[in-house]
């Protein structure tokens, strides 16, 4: 049972600043996902917490202990790698029991713990096999079981599902969430997959350029992105942006339509709305239909509003034709506003 505190962590590789000014507190039993594009520093941060990399500045606390001077084995963590890193010379049983043997636990204790975690991960029939004799999905299960068998304070996962095929990934995602909730372990999970992040996390930390740009519950990050990067990174398709100019009495004009907007000294803002937050209505923005993509439950329509691309998700039974003009009304409470120069959210 442990809280993780990351204080002012910075990391430089030669002249390159990989991480700067990282502050993050993960509550006991919380599941935090570090989300970001490749190269944003999320894996480096995880490795610093694990002790596989040393920070150039800052402190790491796990529970009540400062751990950044401790080797990985003394930090009370367990790690799951993207490529699983199953020891090829040991059987599945010995892989799961490896850490327990290092702790010199009694044989009976090792056996019960290995059996219990193996059953939890549904691999109890594979215990005598070697890593070369099991599938990728099974290897993944072994890697998670090996981490869980340690009963660590903190479990760290570096893109653990990325090497699985799409269907298996979905299945493992749900299973992982259930198992981690059950084991009551604090978890930090690194991924570049926004859907994975949304579905797993209690809280998402979005990283960009070596900084944490927003840390909030998934739905907050989705609804109220802190800046344009987060707005564009989350959501598929991403948020729509349209230029807005200041009018009178706190009104902002977007493609000649007035909207209530934030009270600011700026004269230009960016108006943003998610594709699913628009409805067909006579009081909407005038849009020309350019591409229609039926996706089954709904259709994705790419439009042109005053020269800007605008994507919208509509009911699949809405009859549309290319070149047709429609009016799209954004839901008032879902509109976001961004400062066009800094990219930061204004409200």
């Amino acid at each position: 049972m442990a809280e993780i505190k990351v204080k002012n962590i910075a990391k430089t590789f030669g002249g390159y600043k990989a991480l700067s000014d990282i502050n993050l507190t993960v509550a006991d039993q919380e599941f935090v996902v570090l989300l970001g594009a490749s190269g944003c520093g999320k894996t480096t941060l995880l490795r610093i917490i694990a002790g596989l990399e040393s920070a150039s500045e800052g402190e790491i606390w796990i529970g009540d202990r400062r751990v950044d001077h401790l080797p990985p084995k003394d930090r009370g963590i367990a790690l799951v790698f993207q490529n699983y890193a199953i020891f090829p010379h040991l059987s599945v049983f010995e892989n799961i029991g490896f850490g327990l043997r290092m702790k010199k636990l009694p044989e009976t204790e090792i056996e019960t713990r290995v059996k219990r975690t193996a059953e939890m991960m549904h691999i109890e029939q594979l215990l005598q096999r070697y890593s070369g004799e099991i599938s990728g999905g099974q290897r993944q299960r072994v890697a998670v079981a090996r981490a869980l068998a340690m009963e660590p304070d903190v479990i760290l996962m570096d893109e653990p599902l990325s090497n699985l095929d799409a269907l298996l990934r979905l299945e493992m995602r749900a299973e992982l969430k259930g198992i981690l909730a059950q084991s009551k372990t604090t978890a930090i999970y690194v991924t570049h997959d926004q859907v994975e992040a949304m579905s797993l996390a209690d809280r998402i930390s979005v990283m960009n350029g070596g900084r944490i740009v927003q840390a909030a519950p998934p739905i907050d990050v989705y609804r109220n992105p802190a800046n344009k990067f987060v707005a564009g990174f989350l959501g598929n398709p991403p948020m729509n942006f349209l230029p807005a100019t200041k009018g009178e009495k706190g009104k902002w004009y977007v493609s000649e339509m007035p909207f209530d907007g934030p009270n600011t000294y700026l004269t230009n803002l960016e108006f943003a709305i998610r594709p699913e937050d628009c409805v067909l209505s006579a009081q909407g923005l005038r849009a020309m239909v350019q591409v229609i993509e039926p996706l089954g439950p709904h259709q994705l329509v790419t439009c042109n509003i005053s020269g800007s691309m605008f994507r919208v998700i509509l009911e699949s039974d809405t009859a549309l034709s290319i070149g047709q003009f429609i009016r799209l009304e954004p839901k008032k409470d879902r509109i976001c506003w961004f400062d066009p120069t800094t990219g930061k959210s204004t409200s």
Binding site: L52, A85, M102
Partner: protein, 283 residues
Amino acid sequence: MIKENISILTPAQILQRHKIGRYLYRTLIIVLCAWVLLPLYLLFVNALSSSKAVNSFPKNFVPEFDFESLIFFSQFAGMTSALSNSIKVAVITMIMSIVIGAPAGYALSRFDFRGKSTFRLLILLTRAFPLPLLALPLAVLFIRTGLDDTIFGLALVHTTLALPFAVLITFSIFSGVPIELEEVAWTLGCNRLTGFTKVVLPLILPGIAASAIFAFVISWNEVFAAAVLTVENRTLTAFLLQNLDTSPLHLKFAGGFILVIPALIFIFAVRKYLFAMWGIANR
């Protein structure tokens, strides 16, 4: 018009060219194989033939399986001590080159440091020094330090020769073990040393054995330094070089046979790892 006729080939001509290319390719392979195998075959035939057959004409191309010269050889004075010297030197060379070479190979594969690629090149360059150039100053130095005519002194020289290969082979073996395996071991309660002994060592052991055997063969085959630096404690190669010069032909063949066979067997046993050394087959 004429130009076109020259440059465009008919399908038959293209087929013809393919055939010629294939013939050339096959011929080259046969020539290369013969280059290596023919001398070995003749050695084999003559070593297993009686002295009469070896010296007669026309030559025999089928071995008689006559062990007369080999048996004579095994009873030759000084032969067994030379053989035991050879084995001793080779074993010491093997141990020293692994003990010194494997840590260097590990460092090359695991750490990034300034001048790493230059270092790799320099390791190979140590082989560029012709041994005759080194042998004389070495002999002088060895006599001064009292290392001359000792097993250990010779093993030192052989280690120098085997070390570049030991470093490069172990480098490629260590590179074949993903760093994540070690990292996971560290998080599971290992320090650097136990992580190495519990995870890396079991995985690389066959490769290390191969590298060791290669060092053994290098020492086994080396003749120049052995001939210059030893007088009483000659190794087999130096001993044979000294004695075969004046021996009859059939004994020369038998001596060659004794030298070649162990080296051949060893190299054959570790061939898979020697390919890996050059990065051709990374298991």
